[in-house]
């Protein structure tokens, strides 16, 4: 019996299976699931984008079309102010959202730091009260809040609204930041104190720079809270057109029984852009920032 070279070659050397390798079928399944999920996640936004280029009349036709007399007209009309003082609302929203972000993040950072580092009487009940605060149907407090804002002279002003938004954003942000601060070793604080920092100095010069991922996520959360809120904004801002925020102003497109879908879609896209930009800036921090907060609770 002889073996020649060709018969030996028939036996292909088995490809070595690496531990990290997946069977092709599993790979396809994995990608298929992710692609489907991503499509579902993105489609509504995509559809709004498509609609935003259609005239209102075309947007309600009963056959699906990607393009149907599409143009930038909706955008030019909105930005041109034909549909209400869009740019003013936009400015108001930006101002209120940024103020909310800055104040809420600062407040939750100091509180979260105190809760993370200091043991002080009342700490437990403080943290518990944050949880309870989340349980309010907030809008039911509109009347009392309205009275208080009048008493403080803040009714109708952006600052009043910003403070109200802070109360909704701060509890969750504090939890998240406390969790994040917990992951920064206390040795760092102590080294700073020995190096000559006061407790506030430690917080400001060491802990804050190290907590960037956590701060990024909290900013994102606070920004979105203020950016997309409707009920308080309609209740607490004066009815004058120039003091409205976007969320309130956009209601003009939703008139009784006739919604201007094309314009609404275009306006929506314009409103979504800043939020998506903020999201894109912080998204790489989201997982670490959020999880350390949630893990520690």
């Amino acid at each position: 019996m002889t073996l020649d070279a060709s018969s030996l070659q028939m036996v292909k050397p088995e490809r070595r299976l690496k531990r990290s390798d997946r069977s092709p079928l599993a790979s396809i399944g994995l990608h298929a699931a992710l692609v489907v999920a991503s499509l579902v996640a993105v489609f509504p936004v995509f559809w709004v984008l498509v609609t935003s280029f259609k005239p209102d009349a075309r947007a309600v036709e009963t056959s699906p079309q990607l393009f149907n007399e599409s143009s930038l007209d909706n955008y030019t009309r909105i930005l041109g102010g034909e549909k209400g003082a869009f740019l003013t609302w936009f400015g108001n929203s930006v101002l209120i959202a940024l103020l909310t972000t800055v104040i809420a993040v600062f407040l939750s950072a100091t509180t979260g730091y105190a809760a993370s580092r200091f043991r002080f009487p009342g700490k437990r009940s403080l943290l518990m009260s944050f949880l309870v605060v989340q349980m309010f149907p907030f809008a039911v407090l509109i009347v009392p809040l309205y009275n208080i804002l009048i008493a403080l002279g803040l009714q109708g002003s952006s600052i009043g609204l910003v403070l109200v938004y802070c109360t909704t954003a701060v509890p969750f942000c504090t939890y998240m930041l406390k969790g994040y601060f917990d992951t920064i070793p206390t040795d760092i604080d102590e080294a700073g104190r020995v190096d000559g920092l006061s407790p506030f100095g430690v917080f400001w010069r060491l802990v804050m720079p190290l907590a960037k991922p956590g701060l990024a996520v909290t900013s994102f959360y606070a920004f979105l809270t203020a950016w997309g809120e409707v009920a308080f904004a309609s209740a607490f801002l004066s009815a004058a057109d120039e003091s409205k925020t976007l969320a309130v102003g956009l209601q003009v497109f939703v008139q009784q029984n006739r919604t201007e879908w094309g314009h609404l879609a275009a306006a929506s896209i314009l409103v979504a852009i800043p939020a998506v930009i903020v999201f894109y800036l912080v998204q790489r921090f989201l997982v670490t920032g959020l999880s350390s907060g949630a893990v520690k609770g």
Partner: protein
């Protein structure tokens, strides 16, 4: 430069019952001295150091640095520098920034900071790494940065909290020598915490042994080794640990497995009235003798060969129970496993007796 005193300083953690982590510690450290605080985990050594740093409250008593009461002074007012076990380098600053941070906070001019940082970096062989972030350094380099950060300050006291425990064995021995030499050169009062008694013995001018928050003994390494104040110190200092056994005692001496080890008159006087004592003898004070001679019968259970010498672990009968003894023998001729050997006390001056209950040393 300053001397340091603990005056009956206590740290009490609330609880039921309250935990006295450091209990009425009184200790004086001379200017320029290298004092090591050593003890097992939970002994309060780190707490004692942190009290000195101002990172832990002093609940009772006082702490003085340079004759000044600093009990209620925050850390930044104490003129101390500290090296942490984890090094606690600021991750967002470069090596140079880490080292110069304290000076920057004090408002020292930039050029001066730069000069001092560079000088310290040269001393610690860190010049190449000044612009790196701590993340990009090896463990040994990080340790040196932590040292550098302390040196640059030119503080009156250095505090070091187990600064070597995150290094591998070889680097630890090397760094141990470097730190001791550095301290010698700078002449700065240093308080050094470790759980490693070898570190304590090799580095400290004096060593303070703590257990359960209580100071057991504070003396030079030599004195600790030769005259441990109680059974705990005797067992803690020295490697391998001293053989400590409870044995019956008569007017002739201590009774071990048919052998009576004669004791000095003063020792016997101190043990007067007791029928048992804790008998301590270091492995090197024991020896294996030829089978004909008088000695304890020991069955060899384990032989650890260290090269120059070997440690023989074996069982000896005392009364009804069998007790383990360790004997240090010449490394070239160790007994074999299971062999029966005769063990005798080589040096009768190296016998330590302790009270069987209090553990106090029995001897005037």
């Amino acid at each position: 430069m300053a001397e340091v005193s603990y005056v009956k300083a206590s740290r009490v953690f609330s609880g039921n019952p309250p935990v006295r982590a450091v209990d009425e510690l009184s200790l004086d450290v001379a200017d320029g001295e290298f004092l090591v605080l050593v003890g097992p985990s939970g002994s309060g050594k780190s707490t004692a150091l942190r009290m000195l740093a101002g990172l832990e409250d002093v609940d009772e008593g006082a702490i003085q640095i340079g004759g000044k009461d600093v009990t209620n002074v925050p850390p930044k007012g104490r003129d101390i520098a500290m090296v942490f076990q984890s090094y606690a380098l600021y991750p967002h600053m470069t090596v140079a920034e880490n080292m110069g941070f304290a000076l920057k906070l004090r408002g020292v001019a930039k050029t001066e900071i730069k000069a001092k940082v560079e000088e310290a970096a040269k001393m610690l062989d860190l010049t190449k790494y000044l612009e790196r972030k701590p993340k990009a350094l090896s463990g040994g380099q990080r340790q040196r940065v932590a040292m550098g950060r302390a040196i640059v300050r030119e503080p009156s006291v250095f505090l070091m909290d187990e600064p070597l425990s995150n290094l591998d064995a070889k680097l630890r021995v090397e760094t141990r020598a470097n730190i001791a030499a550095l301290q010698q050169r700078l002449g700065t009062t240093t308080i050094y915490v470790t759980h490693d008694q070898v570190e304590a013995m090799t580095m400290g001018h004096r060593v303070a042994v703590l257990k359960d928050g209580l100071l057991q003994q504070c003396d030079t390494p030599r004195a600790l080794y030769d005259r441990p104040a109680n059974a705990f110190v005797a067992g803690f200092i020295g490697s391998p640990a001293m053989n400590l056994k409870t044995v019956p005692i008569t007017s002739e001496g201590a009774k071990l497995d048919g052998v009576t080890v004669p004791l000095s008159r003063s020792a016997l006087d101190a043990a007067g009235g007791l029928d048992e004592v804790t008998f301590g003898i270091r492995p090197e004070a024991l020896g294996i003798v030829p089978s004909g001679e008088e000695g304890m019968e020991m069955t060899v259970e384990l032989v650890e060969e260290l090269g120059a010498d070997a440690l023989v672990h074996g069982a000896v009968k005392i009364g009804d129970s069998s007790q383990r003894f360790v004997v240090r023998v010449d490394g070239r001729t160790p007994p074999t496993l299971g062999q029966h050997v005769k063990v005798a006390v080589r040096d009768h001056t190296e016998i330590h007796l302790f009270h069987p209950e209090t553990g106090e040393r029995l001897e005037a």
